[in-house]
């Protein structure tokens, strides 16, 4: 096996430190992301780290692919600074409102356009949507083996793959071979810090923007039209603390507190 052609699926998501500023469109139930600072989806950084380690070992190229607005280039620079070689933004108004399957169709088209690949890595799920559908769907659409919930992965010189996927009470060890699509969990590695040299190098790396016509994706496959799923009701959780002032003697108050805690399931 020679050098590896590696693709990492990345998604700009609202900065978790600004979650208190997230608004929900009451009409569509969609998250309103305008004006929210974006960061690379945290799990995707682990996917990128895995790709960079493989590139360091086997050589090759790491391309990031993201279905996002043109403005995502700023967020994708973070991945280029970590060490990715190029970024491809799949951006078109026709993609707006895509559910996870429509998104996977667009991503698969982007991956095909880049050319032959050995391994596609992605964060297992995004911090905002959190469906965890995309890695498996992309694998199906590309017609290659795919794994989700991967917590450990080793690629052998001949393209063999040994991976561990997390299950509720342990893990499953899986053996296979490239090409493959893999969704990784955070346990798989610790993403590297961005170096100053990486920041400077990122300035000269290519960021391509591809529209639906570049990808050959028609309107029926993407966006609202291509989506079978619609968001259900989204609402902001109520974090307010319940307050109740108990009056009476110490004994009565304690009995009442214990009763309330039992009723809430806090005490057995």
């Amino acid at each position: 096996m020679g050098e590896l052609n590696l693709v990492v699926l990345v998604k700009p998501v609202p900065d978790p430190s600004c979650y208190d500023r997230i608004e929900i469109d009451p009409a569509t139930g969609a998250l309103l992301r305008q004006g929210m600072p974006a960061v690379l989806n945290p799990a995707d950084k682990h996917a990128l780290e895995e790709a960079l380690v493989l590139k360091e070992r086997f050589g090759g190229r790491v391309a990031m692919v993201s279905m996002a607005p043109d403005s995502a280039s700023e967020t994708l620079m973070e991945g280029l600074a970590m060490g990715a070689d190029e970024a491809c933004i799949l951006s078109d108004r026709a993609f707006a409102g895509s559910d996870s399957l429509a998104t996977s169709r667009v991503l698969a088209a982007g991956i095909r356009k880049i050319g032959p690949f050995d391994l596609v890595l992605a964060g297992n799920e995004s911090a905002d949507g959190g469906t965890a559908h995309v890695p498996s769907q992309v694998g199906e659409l590309l017609g290659v083996a795919h794994l989700a919930n991967v917590i450990r992965m080793e690629v052998g010189p001949g393209g063999s793959v040994t991976a561990r996927t997390r299950i509720e009470n342990g893990y499953i060890e899986v053996r296979g071979s490239l090409p493959m699509v893999v969704g990784v969990r955070r346990e798989i590695n610790t993403p590297r810090y961005t170096s100053l040299m990486g920041v400077m190098a990122a300035q000269g790396k290519p960021i391509r923007v591809w529209r639906s016509e570049d990808l050959g994706v028609n309107a029926a496959e993407a966006g609202m039209e291509g989506s079978g799923m619609r968001p259900g009701k989204l609402s902001r959780p109520d974090y307010r603390r319940k307050g109740e002032i108990l009056k009476g003697s110490h004994e009565e108050t304690v009995r009442r507190i214990v009763a309330i805690l039992r009723a809430e399931g806090v005490l057995g």
Binding site: E74, M77, E78, A81, Y193, T194, S195, L196, M197, G198, V199, M200, A202, Q203
Partner: protein, 381 residues
């Protein structure tokens, strides 16, 4: 006049540094202050990321950036650990000495290690006779059989226990007018006759070591002379301005931001008289004053560095920035302490450390009195 605006790569750099500092430095900031210890392992990581050689050309292993980027790093570092920022700031003094004044051989020998943080550097000028009185130094060096023999005692030297590549100034004769002439030497740790002396127990900036360096018949080769014979004074004064005072301004700026952010957090969370402190106008004034000090210090610091990078002398502007940012840090820390009431003096909260760190920055790189003398001198002339 154009607005002060950082480039996209400078903003990215700030974000990258902030992520590192919040994950690696913030968790140890309290410990290194209590223990008065320099975290060598974290410094090595900083070196690998390019912090140690931020302005060193890439050919020598640096990041190939400039003094603005350096100030961003120091500000972000000082936001959580001004002591560690002080160690890096002083390291840069030694790095710049070699970069600006070294021969090709000296650059090739030392820069790759100091630019990547494998070796720590420092600058030793101050003596018991004084720091700002550079001409009053008593350490001396004389030629002996193709070597220089250096004797003397340096004090209040940052990185004294950790630096492996020390730039040491000493008296080497007199100039044509009979005034003392000074030269600089590269002295490596472990050289015979050279050793760190007592270490100081400082009020603040305790994440860096500070102490004596002792030179007792320390013999160094001719190749250790840095910047030519008799140029030590000019070199030291140049480094104080370009690296020392700009760095201290950036550290002061980081401390002010720490106070601003901690003050805002506390004022929002602390409920008194049935509402958050932030709703009280008296508290809003304190927050506003911290913000004003931050904005002014930020403008002065980055503007003066920009002037210097553009080739201007900027001695007065840099001295003013150092004065304002470090004095501003003291004011901001005191204000934040006042705002926090009893919590302000509890060491579980970092504001007490901010105040001690801020007070300690005043004497580093020239006191506020010296800064005012420089500003006045430049203004009157």
């Amino acid at each position: 006049m154009p607005e002060l605006k950082f480039t996209q790569s400078q903003e990215m750099l700030r974000k990258a540094v902030r992520e590192f500092v919040e994950k690696e430095v913030k968790p140890i900031a309290h410990r290194i202050d209590v223990e008065s210890s320099f975290p060598a392992d974290v410094f090595q990581k900083m070196g690998r990321l390019g912090f140690a050689g931020v302005f060193v050309p890439q050919t020598y292993g640096g990041a190939g950036l400039g003094q603005t980027e350096r100030a961003i790093i120091l500000e972000e570092l000082a936001r959580h650990a001004a002591g560690l920022a002080m160690a890096l700031m002083t390291h840069h003094l030694g790095v710049e000495a070699i970069l600006a004044y070294g021969t090709d051989e000296q650059k090739a020998k030392y820069l790759p290690d100091v630019a990547t943080g494998k070796k720590i550097s420092g600058l030793a000028v101050t003596e018991p006779t004084g720091g700002s009185d550079v001409a009053g130094q008593l350490a001396n060096a004389s030629r002996d059989n193709g070597h220089w023999v250096i004797n003397g005692r340096k004090c209040f030297i940052t990185n004294s226990s950790n630096a492996e590549v020390n730039i040491v100034t000493a008296r080497t004769g007199e100039d044509a007018k009979g005034r003392p002439a000074f030269s600089a030497f590269i002295v490596e740790s472990g050289m015979e006759g050279f050793s760190p002396g007592r270490e100081e127990d400082k009020l603040g900036l305790r994440g860096s070591s500070t102490g004596d360096l002792l030179l007792n018949n320390c013999r160094v080769g001719e190749g250790s002379l840095l910047g030519g014979e008799g140029n030590g004074m000019r070199m030291a004064l140049g480094l104080f301005t370009k690296i020392g005072r700009t760095g201290m301004a950036a550290i002061g700026l980081g401390i002010i931001r720490a106070c601003l952010e901690e003050g805002v957090k506390f004022a929002r969370e602390r409920v008194i008289y049935g509402k958050p402190l932030a709703k009280l106008q008296a508290i809003q004034f304190e927050i506003a004053q911290n913000r004003i000090d931050y904005e002014a210090a930020r403008l002065m610091t980055y503007h003066s560095i920009g002037l210097k990078e553009g080739g201007a002398g900027a001695d007065a502007e840099i001295a003013a920035a150092k004065y304002f940012a470090t004095e501003g840090a003291v004011r901001a820390a005191k204000r934040t302490m006042d705002l926090m009431g009893g919590y302000g003096v509890i060491n579980e909260y970092p504001v007490g450390r901010y105040l001690r760190d801020a007070l300690t920055t005043i004497s580093c790189g020239g006191t506020s009195h010296i800064m005012q003398i420089i500003v006045a001198g430049q203004t009157l002339n």
